[in-house]
Symmetry: C2
Subunit: 227 residues, 2 copies
């Protein structure tokens, strides 16, 4: 039986990615980061998902990325997360919610954890097509992280390299929702909104992508929205 460390944020994509790992018969080890995110609801969702999936080992790794700062998702200064980067900084391609090197840091920790657990795979829910334009969600990025893994750890000396699996990379949000439905992913326990309130805002990039995905799939999003 293969073993897979699965990055699980509490969002929709990582939940589907974990469900795919499970559906392949892999023993899954969810890994969630408490990185100083303002959005604590996400973490609660990750815990609820793990319980619902009937998984025992849930590693919640503490790493306070506010130590290096500079993102609307972690910093204490109040940047409105529903504004685009263009509005706020005059920049063009990368949203203000980009956390510097976040996926690289998370994957590195996952690599160490996978090595310690003797895992074969690291699953993550990055998604290129409907992503918000983060540089570390692109296919070339994943390819190069794999190339790094191939030489980075003890396992590469003793056996097979750990495989980076990003099953949602080329899927649309609609595809992801449909695949999740097939796999009985409890979408009501996932959280996508950048805000941490009782109801999702329905206005931030993340909410807009999610709502459009459900609409296109012809399904109703089970979580509550403000509007």
């Amino acid at each position: 039986m293969s073993k897979s460390v699965c990055l699980l944020s509490g969002g929709m994509d990582s939940a589907v990615s974990l469900a795919i790992a499970k559906s392949e018969g892999s023993q899954v080890y969810p890994l969630t980061f408490r990185y100083g995110q303002k959005n604590s609801l996400e973490l609660d969702c990750a815990k609820d998902l793990v319980r619902r999936f009937g998984i025992r080992d849930h590693k919640i790794f503490e790493i306070d990325l506010r130590q290096i700062g500079c993102s609307a998702l972690t910093d204490d200064f109040d940047v409105p997360v529903d504004k685009s980067l263009e509005e706020i900084t005059g920049g063009k391609e990368i949203p203000v919610t980009y956390v510097p090197a976040r996926n690289t840091i998370f994957l590195s920790v996952a690599l160490g954890y996978a090595e310690v657990m003797g895992a074969d795979n690291i699953f993550l829910g990055v998604n290129h097509l409907d992503s918000s334009g983060y540089p570390d969600c692109r296919p070339e990025y994943i390819k190069r992280f794999q190339a790094l893994c191939d030489v980075a750890t003890k396992k590469t000396v003793e056996g097979e390299p750990i495989k980076i699996r990003a099953p949602l990379l080329y899927m649309t949000k609609t595809d992801i929702i449909r695949r999740g439905m097939e796999l009985d992913v409890p979408f009501e326990l996932t959280w996508s909104c950048y805000e941490s309130k009782e109801k999702a805002c329905g206005r931030c990039d993340s909410c807009i992508l999610r709502l459009a995905g459900f609409e296109e799939a012809g399904l109703k999003d089970p979580i509550l929205y403000e509007k």
Copy 2:
């Protein structure tokens, strides 16, 4: 003036690597990790080195790698660090002091920090020739981390990629000591021993490499040894 984030452990190699960055006229930003290492002397040395070099900004980043465990350098179970992996686990190439994915994790955080600081380079003191056989100290590893950086961050969209600089990669310990002497590196403020005591043990891998380096350079190591 270029800016360089410099990984600084408090050991000899990273001190020389930082001195090289300074000698190139770069503005340096030392970055030290409190990662749950048993050896706290190393951290004190890093602080003393920064003071001696007359640098103001010293980022000490907290990330407790004991959360993923499994190294004689961090774990609480008492593995003798002067024993080779072969003696302890029957393995062959990688010493018991190897911390899973440590350099990958440290470089990832450095990448995020460099991006936030607008730095051009990340300097690190890895050294292939006289290293202890860690997989993440090899030239191919550095090359692949650079390839990752080239696509990983916001800076790659807006300007030049951040450069990974490992100036000691192909140097022997003796070369490193000579270069450090030329650059007035205060070796008396560096610590290499895996143990954290008043005097270095003189027996662990790290002490043995250091002592041999000084001997070959025809110099006296200014720190105190037990034997």
